[in-house]
């Protein structure tokens, strides 16, 4: 069905279509519309799920853990302070190997309070064992949320998935969006280690130094296996519904002398910047990183790389830049869009024009 929706509405609609059994969520700008929309779907009977109006985000993730532990599909959504407030439970959800899906509206952290787009919230949770995808359009928010359930619940994965969308710039923008008829694309949720009173077990009991690392390794194993599951799921989605996604969305990269690497809406806007630069005779391309965990294998050959981080790890640098460096590149690292700082395709084109390979540039900070 064709509709006009915000990014938030897209997520809520995908969740409705995925038919979870439990949704537990707490409002926070700019994610609130997701919560409200789902509460409405539930009360109007459009969704059969139970909506649990938890008293905090620590509890929203806890409730999802409790639900998923029984083997049912569970969903939550949050943003920024909500995400870091539930940090302990993020680790827990992954360690308990529960295929929870969460939407995160990327937003800056305070103080001072700032409600606008930034990726530091979710990127700072990149060690938790959650898969992370960053979307770039309303349609993609819908599609990625649907796929997230299938990937999370895949027997080779059984890890939670976080779908990230830029606060306001994507959560609140209205675009056209097609819903799908899911059919059996999303099989019923099965959690092999679901609680079974007929076969009692002690979950998460004290695990000694001789054993603990094995379970941690299995999380890593699942992360690695998820690469294939993601590929297969995205291929199947394309086959059924006609929309194609990849861990990295490359645009005009084949012959590029310089590739702009970014995530989320900036990654989309970078495509426009590439067009602008091409018009000027600069052979630019754009590579939008969609999956940050597991981090995809990337290779841009000899091309210069300009990476835009809408985030920062203090005392280290842009987090995306860091991944590229660790992958052997020497990118020009641009820090831009922090706390909702306005960044246009013209600005991005400027970053490319002024690039210094290996250098770092904080957009808007006078030196």
């Amino acid at each position: 069905m064709l509709m006009v929706a915000t990014g938030n509405k897209a997520v809520a609609t995908a969740v409705k279509d995925a038919r979870p059994v439990v949704v537990a969520a707490y409002p926070i700008t700019p994610q609130t519309e997701i919560v409200e929309q789902i509460a409405n779907f539930v009360e109007s009977g459009e969704m059969e799920a139970r909506y649990i109006p938890v008293e905090s985000e620590h509890s929203s993730m806890a409730a999802c853990i409790g639900a998923a532990a029984t083997g049912v599909r569970a969903f939550t959504a949050t943003s920024s302070h909500g995400l870091v407030y539930m940090c302990e439970m993020l680790h827990w959800a992954a360690g308990a190997r529960l295929p929870i899906v969460m939407a995160n509206a990327n937003r800056a952290l305070g103080p001072g309070w700032n409600i606008w787009a930034e990726h530091s919230d979710s990127l700072s949770m990149r060690d938790t064992g959650w898969l992370q995808v960053y979307v770039g359009s309303v349609q993609e928010a819908y599609d990625a949320t649907l796929m997230a359930f299938r990937i999370a619940e895949h027997d080779d994965v059984l890890l939670p998935v976080m779908v990230n969308l830029d606060g306001f710039t994507l959560t609140h923008i209205m675009q056209q969006m097609e819903t799908v008829e899911l059919g059996d694309f999303l099989p019923p949720c099965t959690v092999p280690h679901a609680i079974d009173t007929a076969n009692p077990g002690g979950y998460g009991t004290l695990t000694p130094p001789t054993e603990h690392f094995k379970f941690r390794w299995d999380i890593e194993r699942a992360m690695r296996d998820s690469v294939g599951v993601i590929r297969e799921t995205e291929a199947e989605f394309a086959r059924r519904f006609g929309r194609q996604y990849a861990p990295v969305e490359e645009y005009r990269c084949e012959d590029a002398d310089v590739v702009i690497v970014a995530m989320g809406t900036l990654g989309k806007e970078a495509e426009v910047a590439a067009d602008v630069l091409r018009n000027e005779g600069i052979r630019a391309g754009s590579a939008r990183i969609r999956w940050f965990r597991p981090f995809p294998a990337i290779d841009f050959g000899d091309a210069d790389v300009v990476v835009i981080d809408r985030d920062y790890s203090f005392g280290s640098g842009g987090i995306l830049a860091h991944e590229l460096k660790a992958a052997g590149m020497a990118p020009y690292s641009v820090i831009a869009g922090i706390g909702g700082q306005e960044v246009t395709y013209d600005d991005i084109a400027g970053f490319v024009r002024n690039r210094i390979p290996g250098g770092e540039y904080w957009f808007g900070v006078s030196d």
Binding site: V21, E55, S59, I65, A69, T70, P200, G202, T205, L206
Partner: protein, 293 residues
């Protein structure tokens, strides 16, 4: 005692200290709950005494969870079970720290939104698992490793806090009276919606008394009126078991306090103060029982 099932859901043996009353009460809780139950356990002694992976002494599903999260995990679990039509009992079994301190947000929230579960707080009046630090539930005057001179603040009144949530059933119990507890657990589990039981659970190393005195200590708590056994069904209070007698004629609190190393050196003024609070509390309860309030 004929009524109590012989079935034990805790296999010999947990690694609880000798004389641990929390282990004792858990035996009876599980007997009352039966096998179609899940225990949700936040960080506390109970998370450790089950055993170390790959073995557990608990012959019932135990879902160990983060310290602050028990009631919220139970919310999700209960919603999921009920959604798919299962009646499985969801029982939080949490220490006093995990209830009155770090866990109170989740508990209060779960009660407010009418979660169908039973929350049991076993109260050993300290963070025992980490070695007997003060909790909000530690009583006035008790020495802990973080209150070496005795706690200066009063014990947090968990029951009045819970009562303010107007839940359909709540009760207190004490490890020295396992049959009383057993009945209360059964009653609680028969009710839809949030139910709550608060159990005083003496802890030999924490309270510093010899392990054999565990039952005595619980009985003294009840007989002195330091702890009152009661239940509230839809708000209506009834005092149960040994507390009926204590209400009329409590022993002096000194008989309880002086038996425990944690109160060693407590001064007479504090004992008087405690005695007076107990007197007030018993009077308040008596008035309510008599229907005056």
């Amino acid at each position: 005692m004929a009524e109590i099932p012989k079935e034990e859901y805790i296999l010999r043996c947990t690694s609880a200290c000798a004389g641990c009353s929390s282990s004792l009460v858990l035996r009876y809780i599980l007997k009352a709950a039966g096998p179609d139950s899940v225990l949700v356990v936040p960080a506390c002694c109970t998370s450790v005494i089950q055993g170390i992976y790959p073995n557990t002494a608990m012959n019932i599903p135990v879902y160990n969870v983060a310290f602050a999260s028990a009631a919220a995990v139970a919310s999700g679990m209960s919603a999921a079970f009920r959604s798919v039509g299962k009646k499985t009992n969801v029982i939080c079994y949490a220490g006093d720290g995990g209830t009155v301190d770090i866990g109170i947000q989740a508990l209060s929230g779960a009660l407010e939104r009418g979660t169908d579960f039973l929350y049991i707080c076993y109260d050993n009046e300290a963070y025992s698992n980490t070695g007997m630090q003060r909790s909000g539930s530690t009583p006035l005057g008790a020495k802990t490793t973080t209150t070496p001179e005795g706690k200066r603040d009063a014990k947090k009144d968990l029951d009045r806090i819970v009562q303010a949530h107007n839940l359909p059933y709540m009760a207190t119990a004490c490890s020295a009276y396992p049959l009383d507890l057993y009945k209360k657990v059964q009653k609680a589990l028969a009710i839809r919606g949030p139910t709550f039981i608060h159990i005083l659970a003496p802890c030999p190393p924490g309270w510093r008394y010899p392990s054999e005195a565990t039952i005595e200590m619980g009985k003294l708590a009840v007989k002195t009126g330091m702890w009152v056994l009661y239940e509230r069904e839809y708000g209506k209070l009834s005092v149960t078991g040994a507390s009926k007698g204590a209400l009329a004629k409590p022993l002096p609190v000194g008989e309880y306090l002086t038996r425990q190393g944690r109160f060693k050196g407590i001064d007479a003024a504090t004992i008087d103060y405690v005695q007076q609070s107990v007197r007030d509390n018993l009077a308040r309860i008596a008035r309510e029982v008599e229907g005056v309030c």
